[in-house]
């Protein structure tokens, strides 16, 4: 993994998720700098990665007062957090179904390796490959050579269990100590999953990853909806040779996102909370469309 930092690239960007009390301490211990405590001792905090653009270009320099966040329509007091406090944890998801030939698979392996190379200090990656079988090749790790070796290892081919793979990737994302993002490539829509579209969208609501997807060709399945729901992006690409560049662009763009945090106030109840995020002065805002509260974990 490349041990470089990008000067001046400290603009925060995160997905949203519900942060239970126990997490901040672990997060602070593992990755947050001592000068930037992420969370005070609050019961819950909601964090949202927000991409703000004007004229299709990122808008730098915004402050907390520039953001307006509504939780189920109720305005919330927001804080802005530094991205350096919680590095990115990226789940790389690669389609290895039989519709890809050997040359295309080589391009895809190269794209995965490029993404791993692009990770900065403190950032980690997990790897999921899929055909009709889902293979969680690695949980979050900063061992770049090992990850790249896994990416380069051929895997069996079969049908495309895209929904099951997306579910697995988002569940892997729940183990993130940083900001989880799923970067997924598939060359087609689902043909073999146990989970239907509704189920995988439900997984997206209950987990915190931002899902960004790149597809080849016209078949897209649930991916646009998944990206929209989680505040991610969906891209169609005509050539696998360009997927590596797309992956790098997604990661770079994610780093530039703002990380907005708030403690829900004036809203109660388990279940789905709709979020509205606006920016003073206008602009194109991309963020999760909501978050899931509860239920409390039950023993099994």
């Amino acid at each position: 993994m490349r041990r470089s930092t990008r000067p001046g690239a400290a603009t925060p960007a995160w997905p949203l998720w519900l942060v239970p009390l126990a997490v901040p301490a672990a997060l602070a211990a593992s990755s947050a700098g001592p000068q930037q405590p992420l969370f005070s001792a609050r019961v819950d905090s909601v964090r949202v990665d927000v991409d703000v653009r004007r004229h299709d270009r990122p808008v730098p320099g915004l402050t907390a007062s520039d953001f307006e966040v509504l939780d189920n329509g109720v305005p919330q007091k927001v804080e802005l957090m530094a991205s350096s406090a919680a590095p990115i944890d990226v789940v790389i998801v690669l389609d290895t179904s039989r519709s890809l030939d050997a040359r295309q698979r080589a391009h895809l392996s190269a794209a995965g390796a490029t993404l791993i190379d692009a990770l900065q200090v403190g950032e980690r990656a997990a790897l999921v490959t899929f055909s009709d079988r889902i293979d969680i090749r690695s949980l979050f790790s900063s061992d770049a050579p090992a990850l790249k070796a896994l990416v380069a290892t051929p895997t069996p081919t079969g049908d495309t269990a895209l929904n099951d793979a997306a579910h697995a990737a988002m569940v892997v994302g729940t183990a993130a100590t940083g900001r989880p993002i799923v970067i997924l490539f598939s060359d087609g829509a689902d043909t073999a999953s146990f989970l239907d579209d509704r189920a995988v969208l439900d997984t997206a609501r209950r987990t915190g990853s931002v899902v960004c997807a790149v597809t080849l060709g016209d078949k897209e399945g649930v991916l646009p909806e998944l990206a929209d729901l989680t505040g991610g992006v969906f891209m169609k690409e005509s050539s696998l040779a360009r997927v590596a560049r797309r992956f790098a662009e997604i990661l770079e763009s994610f780093r530039r996102r703002y990380l907005v945090s708030f403690t829900p106030t004036g809203v109660t109840g388990e279940g789905w909370h709709t979020l509205t995020v606006r920016v003073k002065g206008g602009g194109q805002v991309r963020a999760r469309s909501g978050y899931w509260a509860g239920p409390a974990a039950s023993p099994r």
């Binding site: 519709s99 969680i136 073999a192 189920a199 974990a297």
Partner: protein, 391 residues
């Protein structure tokens, strides 16, 4: 040699003429040489064997057999018809296997025959055997067959009708087992047996297959396929058709457990998970063979999740994992349940826990992926029973 090993050309016509041990067709042999050879082959073929009789008939244009079947002396001989039915079925199976071994190439995309679909994409076409049509012609004759001495108003011969129905069941089970979707044989069967529960079950299973993501993805991207007259329709339409047939099957035979499980799958995916749970629980209470228990338990689990009965869903997925340790779907289901219950660590553990044994190959494919291919009784058992009709 078993049928599965035959490659056309491996047997010769000469071996046929040397063997004539299964009956005496002399009185009914027409004098047209190819038809004579066909008639002899019908009497000589040993069911389930890739023998010389098959090679003989393979070398005769199939339309000669079709024409011969219009001759009175042939259609009056029930035993001959049954033998011919089995022979042409065996030959069609052999020719299908040979076509499968030849494979397809992109150049065959525009040809006739069945689409070969891999991962939702057509990779070629496979030539079909014309002997399916000949066999079906015989089955239709048998479905309405009367003894020559019978009164014109007498009902068709019950035994001949039973054998013809057995053929329709067998062929539809075979096509589903091969994952080859065709309504031709089941529709013809239902024209002659409109109240047969088994045929409604098979037609429901064909529509279930047409609603499957693999077929639907193929249709989305293939204008040629959409233009076919008997092309599958949208998933919603195919599910509705499957539901209609499966409900009819259960009306006709409430003990048809397979139909109940399939109906549960269809209605659950169609937005009625509560009904699906009731249906599949009833099927499981009745007792089902191992494959259907796994399939039914997975259908049960996914629909219990949909209605929020998570503890029961987890029990269902645990049961499915016990029945099929190498299967992935139960682990996905367990993960889904844990996540819905707020136990994210368990959700991840369900996916990363050590797996059971790896799949042994396509025959041991993921249970969830082959639901439309397996039947009770299996296609193999039904084919053996059909062949056993030749005494």
């Amino acid at each position: 040699m078993r049928l599965g090993r035959l490659v056309c050309g491996a047997v010769t016509v000469l071996s046929l003429t040397a063997a004539n041990s299964s009956g005496s067709p002399a009185a009914s042999v027409p004098d047209d040489p190819p038809t004579t050879a066909w008639t002899l082959a019908v009497w000589q073929h040993v069911p389930g064997k890739a023998d010389g009789a098959l090679a003989t008939v393979a070398a005769i244009p199939h339309w000669r057999a079709a024409n011969a079947l219009r001759r009175r002396e042939i259609v009056e001989d029930r035993q001959f018809l049954v033998r011919a039915l089995v022979l042409h079925t065996d030959l069609a199976i052999v020719q299908r296997q040979a076509a499968e071994q030849r494979g397809t190439s992109p150049g065959e995309r525009a040809g006739a025959g069945s689409f070969v679909v891999e991962d939702g994409t057509a990779t070629g076409r496979r030539e079909g055997s014309p002997h399916w049509a000949v066999a079906m012609q015989i089955a239709v004759i048998l479905a309405t067959w009367r003894h020559a001495d019978a009164h014109p108003d007498a009902p068709p011969d019950a035994d001949a009708r039973r054998i013809a129905l057995s053929w329709f069941h067998t062929v539809n089970a075979l096509f589903l087992h091969w994952a080859e979707g065709s309504l031709r044989y089941v529709d013809t069967g239902l024209r002659h047996y409109p109240d047969d529960a088994g045929l409604h079950l098979y037609r429901g299973a064909v529509h279930q297959m047409f609603a499957d993501g693999r077929v639907q993805q193929f249709l989305t991207g293939d204008a040629d396929a959409r233009g076919q007259s008997d092309a599958p329709q949208s998933a919603a339409v195919e599910r509705a058709r499957a539901e209609s047939d499966l409900r009819r099957a259960l009306e006709l035979d409430p003990t048809l457990t397979e139909a109940r499980i399939r109906l549960a799958h269809v209605v659950g995916d169609g937005g009625q998970p509560g009904e699906a749970v009731g249906l599949v629980q009833e099927a499981l209470r009745a007792g089902v063979p191992p494959f259907f228990e796994t399939y039914a338990t997975l259908v049960l689990g996914r629909n219990l999740v949909r209605i929020g009965r998570l503890d029961e869903a987890l029990a269902a997925f645990d049961r499915a994992a016990t029945l099929a340790p190498a299967a992935q779907a139960p682990r996905i289901g367990r993960s889904q349940v844990a996540l819905a219950a707020g136990r994210t660590a368990d959700a991840l553990r369900a996916l990363t826990d050590a797996r059971g044994p790896e799949r042994a190959g396509p025959a041991a494919a993921e249970e969830w992926a082959i639901y439309f291919r397996v039947h009770d009784p299996t296609a193999t058992v039904q084919l053996a029973a059909l062949r056993a009709e030749i005494k």
